[in-house]
């Protein structure tokens, strides 16, 4: 039997749409096999990599994955450590043992991270029951002080970072702002002046709106040069 592709690369697909026929193609993220057809799970962009077909969702909440850099907000403090709200259905746990620096026995934990504090952390474990463990040991993992936070759609984060960080480096250089993008769709911006922070915010909002269009880096570059 011959196999046939029914969609093109980067085509927008809807849930339940047939992506390919035949057993030569394999379903990857965001798609599944039923009979000899591969079907999309999401409203997203089809992506074909040799035999694998995946769908990158265009919308949706954050889906926690191991090694992701995220920005969490302290929502609870227990004996064992902190509970972080990371913008998905499940809270993440930051254990005392996973923090940098020394914490004394019976120490007041609010001295380190207080309620409402923003923390850059890395996911080290996600169980099937969606228990999420994070760490703040490592370079760049810290508490965020000052600045502002904006929320974007998590599926658009890779576009904001760009290939090998090209997009984010460009924004940082042009606006002279300190920008940290969490995989969970939270973006922290801290600039020297308010104007620069506003410019960086505008650019990030623009990327979010037009993330599915090709040649976005050049468009943003033009936009930045105009402002200067």
């Amino acid at each position: 039997m011959t196999s046939k592709l029914l969609v093109k690369e980067k085509e927008i697909v809807i849930p339940g749409q047939e992506l390919a026929e035949g057993l030569d193609y394999l379903p990857s993220h965001g798609s599944f096999r039923e009979g000899n057809k591969i079907i999309s799970n999401f409203l997203g962009l089809a992506s074909i990599n040799e035999r694998f077909i995946k769908v990158i969702p265009l919308t949706g909440r954050y889906n926690p994955k191991i090694n992701d850099l995220i920005i969490g907000k302290v929502s609870d403090i227990g004996f064992y450590g902190w509970t972080l709200d990371i913008g998905c259905a499940y809270n993440a746990v930051l254990s005392i043992r996973e923090t940098s620096g020394f914490i004394e026995r019976n120490d007041d934990l609010t001295k380190h991270y207080d309620y409402g504090d923003l923390v850059v952390a890395q996911i080290i474990k996600v169980t099937k029951q969606k228990q999420i463990d994070v760490t703040t040991k490592g370079p760049g993992l810290k508490k965020l002080i000052g600045g502002k936070i904006i929320e974007v759609t998590p599926s658009k984060v890779p576009r904001m970072i760009g290939k090998q960080g090209s997009m984010i480096t460009m924004i940082k250089d042009a606006t002279k702002c300190n920008v940290i993008i969490g995989q969970n769709g939270r973006v922290w911006i801290k600039g020297e002046t308010l104007d620069k922070e506003i410019l960086a915010t505008k650019i990030i909002m623009k990327i979010e709106q037009e993330s599915h269009i090709e040649g976005l880096t050049d468009k943003i570059k033009e936009m930045l040069q105009e402002k200067e």
């Binding site: 927008i12 969702p57 265009l58 919308t59 259905a89 029951q129």
Partner: protein, 230 residues
Amino acid sequence: MDKRADGRKADEMREIEAKVGVIKRADGSALFKIGDTIAIAAVYGPRELHPRYLQNPETGILRCNYDMASFSVTERKKPGPNRRGVEISLVTEKALLPAVDLSQFPNAVVDVFVEIVQANAGTRCAGITAASLALAHAGIPMKDMVAAVSAGKINGKIYVDLSKDEEDVEDATDIPVACTARTKKITLLQLDGNITKKELIEALILAKSSCEKINKIQEKALLEFYRQNE
């Protein structure tokens, strides 16, 4: 051919409009308009489920809420949930459940709120169609799309998408039907009135082919939402 009171053919639906992304703060939202009936659906989640005794450690759950605005009907409706609203919430949930896949979200909930802002028969069908669009827009994993339409019998003849005037005819039978786009399975079937087996089959065939037309409109609405920025 004999025409209906508003000039439509037997297999002709009222004018349809579908739009995605109408509520900014929701994770997904959609508006579905069929004739004078307007339904707005909003989806929130997956999010933590409270009260905790409802949580299911094996899969996420779907929670639907159907409500009619007090100004949606000619005579003011008392706001808030009522017997009818609770029933339609339940059938909406059952109609959508085969299309969504929440196995990745243990202990969590996906909330669907359907609000009817203007009613002229066929509100539960409009609500289900809007909710399906909103779920897709919210990025919930789905196996299929759901579309719904009502069929009915007036004076012994089968018609699709009854309006309020047609529904109020004496001895009229109303049959809301929801159908999945790919697998063509019926996920909602209710019946109010009397009908023979032969007529029911005729009505179901008519409703199914109309659902396919609505599926095309749903697809267009979803794709258009992303094309408008280009």
